[in-house]
């Protein structure tokens, strides 16, 4: 029920903050969603959408962190295996 899907904002209509709508592309499927709760979101940003509302802008730097962490872990393992 709390399913929310990330999609990319393709275009924005409306100026009033409460009625701003975006066309959001979810991997090829495009749907309209309210941008009332993400006033800072711009075309090209990714947002997570639930029940027709964008709830949060996806932070692309934060999104990479787990991959960086795993890469570091792997390098550390390699280092250990290589020995002194």
């Amino acid at each position: 029920m709390c399913l929310a899907i990330p999609g990319k904002i393709e275009s924005i209509t409306g100026d009033d903050p409460l009625s701003r709508m975006g066309r959001i592309n979810f991997g090829g499927i495009v749907k309209e969603a309210s941008l009332a709760y993400v006033p800072e979101a711009k075309v090209g940003n990714y947002v997570i959408v639930h029940a027709g509302f964008a709830l949060s802008r996806v932070d692309e730097d934060e999104a990479q962190k787990v991959f960086e962490y795993l890469k570091q872990m792997e390098e550390l393992d390699d280092l250990k295996e290589a020995g002194p």
Partner: protein, 362 residues
């Protein structure tokens, strides 16, 4: 899809699981609060990647499951009336009330419609001024900004034929209720990522401190859940009980401020019954006085309608982690997703339904 598929990488998921194995020295019971996470755990077999001494307890975070019987009965009663267009999210249509479900009311001639967003229901009210349009507003904090905005817009537009049957629930009071139970086995929580996208996670700090439990805000993809579990086990093994945020790509500490502001305008905190758990104080949202004209219970005169839950169902024990679904004698025989006895079999996000669907007997 970007920000989805890359978090399903099997090799990287196994790398996280290996790290959990490496650091786990003792048995731990960890509850994932959200039904969406329960579904992902059982579907992707995440629990099978974990050390044997880590037990996942499937929490009450399935709004479809915990919506009390009497709310469903009220929905059925309203939906069956002539001149009503009854609207709901699709997953509420099969939820059984005392005698029937919304799908059967629809088959019997009721005008029941599935909408993707509560705003679609507002549109229907504008397009059908001679009909009463009612929306069944269930869900956690994730969904409340959507239903709240529907009521807010209906008021702005001066719509007299729109109302909402509301049964919103809140996560922190449910955690408090679980932790204060003398039988509680939960030692740490994965908090629900999308609830926190709206509310932030400051309200979890006092809970982590009071009950000395780690709480890690966690996303929904396999790598999210495994990383959330890794962070949780790291805390448990080192004796820490902090609030941490695994799902930082979508969750900020303060949450979504415009959404919270709208919620404060429209809703007030109320006591709420949870199917399977009973009434929990201050655990729900209802319309506040300024918007009470949009309350479907008042409009249709249903405020005094109360129903008792069937006693055979052990959903309450499952939701507290005291029983696994297959330990119920009715599981998979008399109780199935087609004919559920109670909360946890009702929706695909409920623990019993997830076990039934993926055929797990352990």
């Amino acid at each position: 899809m970007k920000f989805l598929d890359e978090y399903r990488d099997g090799e990287l998921a196994h790398q996280l699981a290996r790290e959990i194995h490496r650091i786990t020295t003792r048995p731990w019971n960890i509850m994932e609060v959200c039904g969406g996470q329960t579904h992902a755990i059982v579907k992707f077999g995440i629990d099978e990647l974990l050390p044997k001494n880590i037990t996942l307890i499937h929490g009450p975070g399935c709004p479809v499951c915990v919506t009390p019987l009497e709310v469903i009965d009220k929905a059925l009663e309203i939906a069956a009336r002539p001149n009503v267009i009854f609207t709901s999210f699709g997953d509420m249509l099969r939820v059984p009330g005392s005698t029937t479900d919304l799908l059967s009311v629809k088959a019997g001639g009721g005008d029941v419609r599935i909408v993707y967003s509560p705003l679609d229901a507002v549109k229907l009210a504008e397009q059908n001024p001679s009909k009463e349009v009612v929306f069944l507003g269930v869900g956690f904090e994730t969904t409340a900004p959507a239903t709240g905005m529907a009521v807010f817009q209906a008021a702005q537009k001066g719509l007299k034929n729109f109302s909402m049957l509301i049964s919103h629930v809140l996560v922190p009071p449910a955690i408090e209720a679980l932790m204060s139970s003398p039988n509680c086995r939960v030692q740490a929580f994965l908090a629900a990522g999308h609830v926190c996208a709206v509310m932030g996670y400051e309200e979890y700090f006092p809970l982590a401190a009071k009950y000395h439990v780690p709480i890690v805000v966690t996303g929904f993809e396999p790598m999210d859940i495994l990383q959330g579990l890794l962070m949780t086990v790291q805390q448990l093994e080192s004796g820490r009980a902090e609030v941490e945020n695994q799902y930082s790509r979508s969750v900020r500490r303060e949450g979504n401020q415009p959404a919270q502001e709208l919620m404060r305008k429209v809703f007030k905190v109320v006591p709420r019954k949870w199917r399977g758990l009973g009434e929990i104080p201050q655990s729900g949202l209802g319309l506040n006085e300024a918007y009470s004209a949009f309350d479907a219970e008042k409009r249709f005169g249903l405020t005094d309608h109360h129903v008792e839950e069937p006693t055979e169902c052990i959903a309450g024990l499952v939701l507290q982690g005291l029983k696994k679904p297959h330990e119920c004698p009715a599981f998979g025989t008399r109780c199935t997703p087609e004919h559920p006895f109670g909360a946890t079999m009702v929706s695909s996000e409920g623990a019993c339904a997830a076990y039934y669907r993926y055929r797990r007997n352990n």
